[in-house]
Every structure is written in structure tokens, then in C-alpha cells.
């Protein structure tokens, strides 16, 4: 039972991150490595502000804003300075490492009894052991619904079409570059929020917590979009979150089968390769759709 709850908690936290990757990778068609820096950025801001006594909800908001800023820098580097997509993300990610260090002032930090978003709400006794998962699920649901609504707006339509067909956005009289920058901001805002939640749940900040974010998120996106493609009534965003939960379950299973926790990154990589394999097999059986 505690293991199951742990998986769901992690799935919810990282699910928000996967939604961000879904925007940059699937919708914008942009392999954005900034996320490996924005995840700890959110955590750093959360850690630094929470320890200074700032309201933990306000910390989340600050993390969102900072993430959006980092994403827009990647976008600007790519669009205005004409740097390749992959490289712009790597540049910002590398820079963020130092910035994250500066924000916290040390490579890792424990929050030690500081108030978090989980502490402020009074739960009935029976639900008290589930307080984390309840709060996290409400947040992830809120984010998901908000994103779904956004993707149905005119602005959301433009975002979807820019990854699909940049030329169409030009003929509509809009600058595709600006639309991409907006998309990257939203994606990284979500990743940063995920990092902030992770920090408040784990009560710690770790400068290297972002390593592998992109790989992890991508795997969840591929699992989510491949496995649940057939189910019509389900939104892709729901699929992505469920994909992350499945992914986390696999990791937990792998680790508990006798591997050390330091093996996690290797498991992450192998699992990613397996997902890619699954994806191509599933695609082949359908007559070869667009590759992930």
C-alpha cells in the first residue's frame, strides 16, 4: 500500500512535468532539453523561498514564473539567434545549473519542518495518511483541465498548428517564432511547477535532481500517447499523466527487484528504449504512423 501511494504521488508530481514535455516535444515538435534545468529551478526557488518563510503556494507561483522565463529564453535563443533547437535548450540548461546553485547557495538542502502546501490544510483523521496524494491529485487535475481548456482556445489552436505546419501560421498572418516562444514558456512553467512540488513533498533540494528529466518525461509521453491512442473518450493529457504513473511503477518495480537506487538512471534509460521499441511495434501494426 505505501508503495502504491508512493508511485501515485510520484506519478502526479512528474505527470505535470510530462505535460510540459508533451507541449514542447509532441505539440511544438521541439526537443527541449531546458527541462533538465527548469525542474531543479522550480525546486530551488521553492526551497529558497520556503526556508525564508514565504507562503508555500506563493513559492509555487514564483516557480511557474521562473520556469516560463527560462523557457522563453530558450525560445528566443532558437528563434532570434537562430541557434539549433537542441543546442538552445542545452545552453539554457547549463546556465541554469549555476543559477540554481546561486538561488539556494548550496548543492543540496533539507527543508526541515518548514511549512509546505501539504501542511496548511486540515484533514480528517482517516484521510491524514493520504494528505499528500490528495493535494497532489487536486493540483495535477487542475493543471490538466487548465491545459485542456487552453488547447481549445484560439491561442491553443495556433500553438497546435505551429508544430504541425509552420507555413500555415505564416499564412494566417502570425509570427510562428512568437507562438513557439509562448509554447516553450508554458512547457517549462509546468516543468518548474513539477520541480517545486517535488521539493515540497520530498522536503529537500538537490542540484542534480533534474538529470534525466527530459528522458523520463518523453518516455511517459510516448507510453501515454501510444498505449491510450485507441481510447477515444480519453484526452491525450490524461494519457500522458497515466503514462507517467505507469513509468514510475516500472521504475519502482525494477529498483525493488534488487537494484540499488543509484541504478535508477540506467533503469530510466533502458525503460526509455523499451518504450521506443513498444512505440515502433505498435506503430508498425497500424501501418506506420509518425515516429516519436
Amino acid at each position: 500500500m505505501p508503495i502504491l501511494i508512493g508511485i501515485l504521488e510520484q506519478g502526479a508530481i512528474y505527470g505535470i512535468m510530462a505535460l510540459g514535455i508533451y507541449i514542447s516535444y509532441k505539440i511544438l515538435n521541439f526537443p527541449d532539453l531546458t527541462v533538465d534545468g527548469t525542474f531543479p529551478l522550480g525546486a530551488a526557488i521553492s526551497a529558497a523561498l520556503v526556508t525564508r518563510g514565504v507562503n508555500p503556494w506563493v513559492c509555487l507561483l514564483c516557480a511557474i514564473i521562473a520556469g516560463a522565463l527560462a523557457g522563453s529564453i530558450t525560445g528566443i535563443l532558437h528563434i532570434k539567434c537562430k541557434i539549433k533547437d537542441l543546442l538552445s535548450g542545452i545552453l539554457v540548461m547549463t546556465g541554469l545549473y549555476s543559477i540554481n546553485y546561486r538561488i539556494v547557495g548550496m548543492p543540496n538542502m533539507f527543508l526541515m519542518q518548514k511549512p509546505t502546501i501539504f501542511g496548511g490544510i486540515r484533514f480528517p483523521k482517516a484521510l491524514f495518511p493520504f494528505r499528500y496524494i490528495i493535494v497532489l491529485f487536486v493540483i495535477v487535475l487542475f493543471v490538466k483541465i487548465l491545459l485542456d481548456l487552453y488547447l481549445r482556445t484560439k491561442s491553443g489552436f495556433l500553438l497546435k498548428s505551429v508544430g504541425d505546419n509552420e507555413g500555415l501560421v505564416v499564412t494566417l498572418g502570425k509570427n510562428p517564432g512568437t507562438v513557439k516562444i509562448i509554447g516553450l514558456s508554458i512547457a517549462n512553467a509546468l516543468v518548474s511547477l513539477s520541480g517545486a512540488l517535488y521539493c515540497q513533498r520530498a522536503m529537500q533540494f538537490d542540484i542534480s535532481s533534474g538529470t534525466g528529466t527530459m528522458v523520463m518525461g518523453l518516455a511517459a509521453v510516448i507510453i501515454g500517447t501510444t498505449l491510450f491512442r485507441k481510447i477515444r473518450f480519453m484526452n491525450v493529457t490524461t494519457g500522458v499523466i497515466l503514462g507517467m504513473i505507469i513509468y514510475k511503477a516500472c521504475i519502482t518495480a525494477a529498483i525493488s527487484s534488487g537494484l540499488r537506487s543509484s541504478d535508477t538512471k540506467l533503469v530510466v534509460t533502458v525503460l526509455f528504449l523499451l518504450t521506443m521499441l513498444l512505440n515502433s511495434v505498435m506503430n508498425k501494426s497500424e501501418g506506420g504512423r509518425k515516429n516519436a
Binding site: 487552453y150 481549445r152 482556445t153 484560439k154 491561442s155 491553443g156 489552436f157 495556433l158 497546435k160 498548428s161 504541425d164 505546419n165 507555413g167 500555415l168 501560421v169 505564416v170 499564412t171 494566417l172 498572418g173 502570425k174 509570427n175 510562428p176
Partner: protein, 257 residues
């Protein structure tokens, strides 16, 4: 209406592949004209179109639309007045979005793309009536992703989307070249209908001499960055496809092929 004045354009300057295409190229299109442009490969048809749309910058010279100098405007800024249908059918629509979503997107051109609802459900009946005119059965498939449509269907939809908000100028860049003969005839018929109905000034680049004969009010033949034939009105009507072929062959023979 549309003026290209003293256009100079060279490619790969300073390399062994240097090609001087336009030297003092001029083109003047009057309001309401439907110009069909034909010519051999590399004659500059598509480059001329790209200079008008802003996708290619001329080395010097100016582009005027409705008397306004738009040479410095970016392609998406010009798109406010200029619509375009490309050769590649997948360029005109967003493949992962449905027909309904695509049409709503195009219908909003010129307005803000804000946080209001993307689908324009109030106009659904209007969209349906537009699709019915095509006779392709698309009106019953409005929730289908356009990526699942055939090339001809997509191109027809692209044309409807491009002209949904009546543009000042319509650019057609070999928009039937990638289609089978039947689909290209359907799209061409639709093109003429839309252009006439809405009285849109149109530039159409085509490789099909028959289309240049049958459609349009003016025909231009280009060769090596220059205009070798420019006829309009009654004179164009009298010109047969053989007359075009004669000139076309003469040019080609000059080139040695």
C-alpha cells in the same frame, strides 16, 4: 495593384554556382486580374511569387501592394493581405487538427488569437455549405483530422481556407501539380469559381499550359528571369495551346535542350 519594380536577385553569390536570375525585372498587375504564369524550370516563376509573399528577399528593387511599399515587411506581416496556396497539399492545413478546427483557425485570420474558444461553432453551417460546394463529401467528415484526407481534398480545403477572409492578392504556387488529373481539374474549377466570385486579384504559377490557356485573364510566359510573352484580354482568348507550345519550344531550343 501589385507592382514589382526593378527587381534584382542572384543566388549563391560568390560561389561557382552563382546564378543571376532577375536583372531589372518588372511586373505590374492590375486590380481583378487573374494572371497565369508559365515557364521552364529555373525561369523565376516561383521566385517571383516568393518575392511577392516575402519568403525571398530581392537584392534590390521594390514590391508595392495597393500603392504601399511592402518590400521591408516580413512574410507573416504581408500575409494579412496576401493569401497563398502551395504546391504541397500538406502545407495548407494543420494535419493533426480536424477540418472544423482548421476552418475556424482560418476564419479568425486578421483577428486576435486569444483565450476565447477556438472552435467557431456559430459558423459551422457556413463551413458545411462551403464544403458541400466541393462535392467531395467533406461536409460529413468535419471531425476528421485533415492528415487523413487525400491530396486533392486537402488542397481544396486549403483553397477555401486561404480565401475564407477575402485576400487582396491570392498566390497559387503550382497548387495542382501534386494532384492526379481529376483532382487537379476539380481544384482548378474551384479556383476559378472562388476567384471570380470574390473578385480576387490572383497570380497563379503553373506547369500546365492547358490551365494557362483555359483559365485567367492574362498569361505570362517567363524565361531566364525575363518575361517573353505577356497577353491579356481578347488576345489571350484567341491564343491556342499550340501558340504557347510554339513559343515554349523556341525558348527550350535556344537553351539547347
Amino acid at each position: 495593384m501589385l507592382e514589382l519594380n526593378n527587381i534584382y536577385k542572384s543566388f549563391n553569390v560568390g560561389t561557382i554556382d552563382e546564378k543571376i536570375l532577375f536583372q531589372n525585372f518588372n511586373l505590374n498587375v492590375k486590380n481583378g486580374e487573374f494572371v497565369a504564369i508559365v515557364g521552364s524550370n529555373g525561369s523565376g516563376k516561383t521566385t517571383a511569387l516568393n518575392i511577392v509573399s516575402g519568403d525571398v528577399k530581392p537584392d534590390s528593387g521594390s514590391v508595392l501592394l495597393d500603392g504601399k511599399n511592402i518590400t521591408k515587411q516580413k512574410n507573416y506581416q504581408r500575409a494579412a493581405k496576401i493569401a497563398r496556396v502551395f504546391q504541397n497539399p500538406s502545407m495548407g492545413t494543420s494535419p493533426s487538427m480536424t477540418i472544423m478546427e482548421n476552418m475556424s483557425l482560418a476564419d479568425n485570420k486578421g483577428k486576435r488569437y486569444d483565450l476565447t474558444k477556438g472552435l467557431n461553432t456559430k459558423r459551422r453551417d457556413f463551413y458545411r455549405s462551403q464544403l458541400e460546394l466541393l462535392g467531395m463529401g467533406l461536409e460529413n467528415r468535419m471531425e476528421t483530422q485533415t492528415g487523413a484526407l487525400s491530396g486533392g481534398q486537402r488542397q481544396a480545403l486549403a483553397l477555401i481556407m486561404a480565401t475564407m477572409k477575402t485576400p487582396t492578392l491570392l498566390l497559387l504556387d503550382e497548387h495542382t501539380a501534386a494532384l492526379d488529373p481529376k483532382s487537379s481539374d476539380i481544384v482548378m474549377t474551384l479556383t476559378e469559381k472562388v476567384v471570380k466570385e470574390k473578385n480576387i486579384t490572383t497570380l497563379m504559377v503553373t506547369h500546365n499550359l492547358r490551365y494557362a490557356v483555359e483559365y485567367g485573364t492574362r498569361a505570362i510566359m517567363m524565361h531566364e528571369g525575363g518575361i517573353v510573352l505577356d497577353i491579356s484580354g481578347e488576345k489571350k482568348k484567341q491564343q491556342s495551346i499550340n501558340d504557347y507550345l510554339k513559343i515554349f519550344n523556341e525558348i527550350s531550343i535556344e537553351c539547347g535542350n
